[in-house]
């Protein structure tokens, strides 16, 4: 039961062709049908009890028509031919082509192999088994001892079947199964409460839990909260920062990832506009976005415009090699999409998005990097981040961090944001470790749309980043 790739598509091929023809009837140059069927299940375990359990099902299609520089878009939850034709008419009306004309569309069916086939579909797993998973996590965390105020475990699975067909002849399908477990703990001590969390997630089925030790994750979340009880206020000011492998991919996601998205480039609202071929980073930096990485959180067989995802090198040895592209931006430049056109759901227009973005391995022993840092901060777990692509200024949070004093890790410090400027930080990376690891599953938000993304990096050091703490 690797997947249901052989099942009937969400919309029949003949219907799809008629809908595309209708969408082009008022003179559209391009039309697309994106259909989606999404099922999800969520369980929340809190204070030793299953507090929330919910599940849902949604399906529908978004239809896009492009005329010149204008895109018209409409969506419908009605996948019947009648419902689709009405949406096609609305989308073409919104794009308002100058003149009508019938165009036949010849579709060529393809289903590129999924980089992430699911072995055990979560819908087929008894809810009782999902409950049991959370109970195990809870018991393990509580056994960690200490004054644990709260233990919250959150399980989510989703299955997203998509079909994309367009007037260029694309007719592609994909079946994406994702599963995620988050555990967060609150510990109480003399200086107040502290939090610790762990998340595991992958584009795969319930077999995820054969590969991950749920008890170990829960213990780690509890220990993180307990050890932060003795954390001091974070420093305030600019200093060297060492970031542990597999935790700091968000640094690149924010420092340059968003700035390398072709929609920001086309409008010249990225600090990386017009810089292909230039040295934009330390020669140690090779940065890749790869939607084909098997089972990673941002893995997809096709993007949400029906194009196969790929492995795209963005920065090679510090030189900017290319941006990330969706269909619309690539068309304007007369080139192909890089498979980075994504959308949150059938109710949204696609735009340029990252998939799995990571920094390639360096050569240094990670322990040596710390030894060679007389004074600074060691970040062992990062939270989210945010960037202003126009100025390149970006922040990211630290959830577990320590002072580095005389080449050794010493006291834990409290949560704070770090701030830096993308182009400056890329130049300031002065050493990269040989211990590459992918990080936790992320959700990237852009213009109100959230999509799953993966991130990764080896241990690395930035010569100077500003720590937003309060220590005097």
């Amino acid at each position: 039961m690797t997947s249901t790739r052989t099942a009937a598509p969400l919309i029949d091929e003949g219907v799809t062709a008629r809908v595309l023809r209708q969408a082009l009837a008022t003179g559209g140059e391009f039309a697309e049908v994106f259909a989606e069927d999404r099922r999800g299940c969520m369980l929340a375990f809190d204070d030793g009890r299953i507090e929330d359990i919910s599940s849902g099902h949604e399906r529908g299609a978004g239809i896009r028509v492009v005329v010149g520089n204008t895109t018209g878009f409409a969506h419908t939850a009605d996948l019947s031919e009648r419902g689709l034709l009405a949406a096609a008419e609305a989308a073409s009306g919104a794009a308002r082509g100058a003149e009508g004309g019938a165009r036949q569309v010849a579709l060529s069916r393809s289903a590129p192999p999924s980089p992430s086939p699911a072995e055990v579909l979560p819908a087929g797993v008894a809810k009782a088994k999902k409950v049991e998973l959370l109970c195990r996590a809870d018991a393990a965390a509580r056994a960690a001892g200490g004054d644990l105020r709260q233990l919250n475990a959150n399980y989510r699975d989703s299955r997203r079947q998509v079909l994309v067909a367009n007037s260029d002849g694309v007719f592609s399908t994909d079946d994406q199964v994702r599963i995620r477990l988050g555990i967060s703990a609150v510990a109480n001590g003399d200086t107040g409460m502290q939090t610790g969390s762990e998340i595991v997630g992958a584009t795969m089925g319930f077999e995820l839990f054969d590969r991950h030790d749920v008890e170990g994750l829960a213990r780690s979340a509890a220990h993180r909260a307990l050890s932060k009880l003795r954390a001091r206020p974070a420093p305030s000011g600019t200093m060297p920062v060492v970031i542990k492998a597999g935790t700091g991919g968000v640094l690149f996601h924010e420092a340059c990832g968003h700035g390398l998205e072709a929609d920001h480039i086309a409008k010249a609202v990225s600090v990386f506009t017009g810089r292909v071929g230039e040295q934009v980073a330390s020669p140690l930096v090779t940065l890749v976005d790869d939607g084909t990485m098997s089972h990673e959180w941002g893995a997809l067989a096709i993007d949400d415009e029906g194009h196969p995802t790929g492995r795209n090198v963005l920065i090679e040895n510090g030189v900017l090699t290319d941006y990330m592209w969706d269909w619309l931006r690539a068309r304007k430049e007369g080139r192909g999409s890089s498979g980075n056109g994504r959308r949150q759901s059938y109710q949204h227009l696609p735009m340029v998005r990252m998939t799995n973005t990571f920094l390639m391995n360096g050569e240094e022993d990670p322990e040596e990097i710390i030894r060679q840092t007389p004074h600074g901060v060691y970040v062992a777990q990062l939270g989210g981040g945010q960037v202003n692509t126009t100025t390149g200024d970006f922040v990211f949070g630290m959830r577990e961090a320590y002072l580095i004093e005389n080449g050794g890790i010493t006291e834990p410090i409290r949560d704070a944001n770090l701030i830096g400027n993308g182009p400056q930080v890329l130049r300031d990376i002065d050493v990269i470790g040989n211990d590459f690891a992918m990080g936790f599953p992320g959700t990237c938000g852009k213009q109100g749309q959230g999509v799953p993304v993966g991130m990764g990096q080896p241990t690395l050091r930035v010569r100077g980043l500003t720590i937003g703490g309060t220590a005097r």
Partner: protein, 447 residues
């Protein structure tokens, strides 16, 4: 009774003996126009519907949702919610709310004017705004996007134990992102105007805001680290108030993870702070006659002149705490079961104008935008650290622009440190309104 309310009532009546069923339905039509360089970049318009069903049986709750409203889908969704309920933990406090006798405040939040507004006028409004921003200052290099968005939404909630409520509202929003440039340097800022219908909008305000905020940041430098007074502009204070709203949830108190547990009746903030959540104020973006469990919304004063007066509850957390619901149940659309949240949180405005407030502060920093509210603020430990940009304040006047800095403190210290609240309350497109606010000291990290 609206068509949606009739449907909700009919489905809720499908309950079996010994179980309670609640049906929440929503329908919304959204239109969005984006323009760029004098052309329509995209125009989308569509209606979405969906429903969420809660079943409580023997102290166990299950929830399920679907993105369609036909009977067959509703029946499947009810069955799924029933199945989910079997796996949750039974507790005496789990249950649906019963009508509590509070009469709803009549609110008229629907404007036929918006519903009838032709698409071409929406396009024209966005194009006019783009032109106004471009013409606003010679240093405006371009407009990253100018956007019209509107929505008309209906909701209904009905339960098998007598709740029946519905509401509808319209809203529209016109905004632009301006890019100011000087040599190789670029700065970006956002301006907007909101209302329930087109005649509420003031496009010139949106244009001026976008232009002035972008232009005044040109030449910004990274400041030296310091401890100094901080003034938050309304848009920034609104983000802080949203956060406070969630920190004051009664559910956090029950779970013993609230910063303010056991502090009712104590001074948790400076006397200038009176914090209120009042969805019955029609000017608020989140105004509503009913909460998302169908109880009449009411005015809740959480902090009165610095003294903590109440936490917010939905029906489940209230029953668990031995209290009454404050009608603070909110949902993130039909896909989610209700939880505790604010709709229209604001600070009681003070007496001084923003200019007088700056004069009182003397030297400090005015913060015009923050980043990383989700990554650098911990509502459990209270640690607060965000990226910021703004203008230094010297001798009560705005001075040089600064960027790439953070401001940090803790939620507890910030509340105690509020030295002044200005009189410029701004109803923003958010669950919180903003006001210019001074905090006596925060840590600014820079070079």
């Amino acid at each position: 009774l609206s068509e949606l309310a009739e449907l909700a009532e009919r489905v809720a009546a499908w309950s079996h003996d010994g179980e309670c069923v609640e049906v929440y339905l929503s329908r919304g039509t959204d239109t969005e126009v984006r323009v760029y360089e004098g052309e329509v970049e995209s125009l989308s318009s569509a209606t979405s519907v969906g429903g969420g069903i809660r079943v409580v049986s023997g102290g166990r709750q299950g929830f399920a949702y679907a993105g369609a409203l036909d009977d067959e889908v509703m029946a499947e969704t009810l069955e799924e919610a029933r199945s989910n309920a079997q796996f949750s933990t039974a507790e005496p406090w789990v249950g649906l709310p019963e009508p509590d006798g509070t009469e709803p405040v009549p609110l008229d939040l629907w404007r036929d004017e918006l519903v009838a507004w032709p698409a071409q006028r929406k396009v024209d409004a966005a194009l006019d705004l783009e032109r106004a921003v471009r013409a606003g200052d010679p240093r405006i290099r371009q407009v990253e996007s100018a956007r019209w968005a509107d929505s008309s939404n209906e909701m209904a909630v009905a339960s098998s134990i007598g709740v029946l409520a519905s509401g509808r509202s319209t809203a529209c929003y016109l905004s632009a992102v301006a890019v100011a440039a000087d040599g190789t340097e670029s700065k970006v800022a956002h301006g907007y105007t909101v209302g329930r219908c087109p005649s509420d909008l003031v496009p010139s305000m949106a244009a001026d805001d976008a232009v002035n905020r972008a232009v005044r940041m040109l030449g910004a430098t990274k400041p030296r680290s310091a401890y100094l007074p901080v003034v938050l502009e309304p848009r920034v204070s609104a983000q802080v108030l949203s956060l406070l709203g969630s920190v004051l949830s009664g559910e956090r108190v029950l779970k013993r993870v609230s910063l303010f547990s056991d502090r009712l009746g104590e001074a948790v903030a400076a006397p200038a702070v009176t914090l209120v959540d009042d969805p019955t104020m029609p000017a608020a973006w989140g105004a509503a006659a009913f909460d998302d469990e169908g109880l009449a919304c009411r005015r809740n004063v959480m902090i009165d002149a610095g003294v903590l007066r109440c936490f917010l509850y939905d029906s489940t957390s209230a029953r668990r705490a031995g209290r009454y619901s404050t009608a603070s149940a909110v949902r993130a659309g039909y896909r989610s079961a209700p939880g505790v949240g604010v709709r229209a949180v604001h600070l009681q405005p003070g007496e001084v104008s923003p200019e007088e407030l700056l004069a009182q502060v003397g030297d400090g920093i005015l913060v015009q935008s923050v980043t990383g509210m989700h990554s650098g603020v911990n509502p459990v430990s209270g640690d607060f650290s965000v990226g910021a940009e703004g203008l230094l304040v010297r001798g009560g006047e705005l001075a040089s622009p600064v960027r790439e800095l953070t401001i940090a403190s803790s939620i507890q210290r910030m509340l105690q440190g509020v030295s002044a609240v200005a009189n410029d309350i701004e109803w923003l497109p958010s669950r919180a309104s903003g006001v210019t606010l001074a905090i006596s000291e925060m840590s600014m990290s820079g070079a």
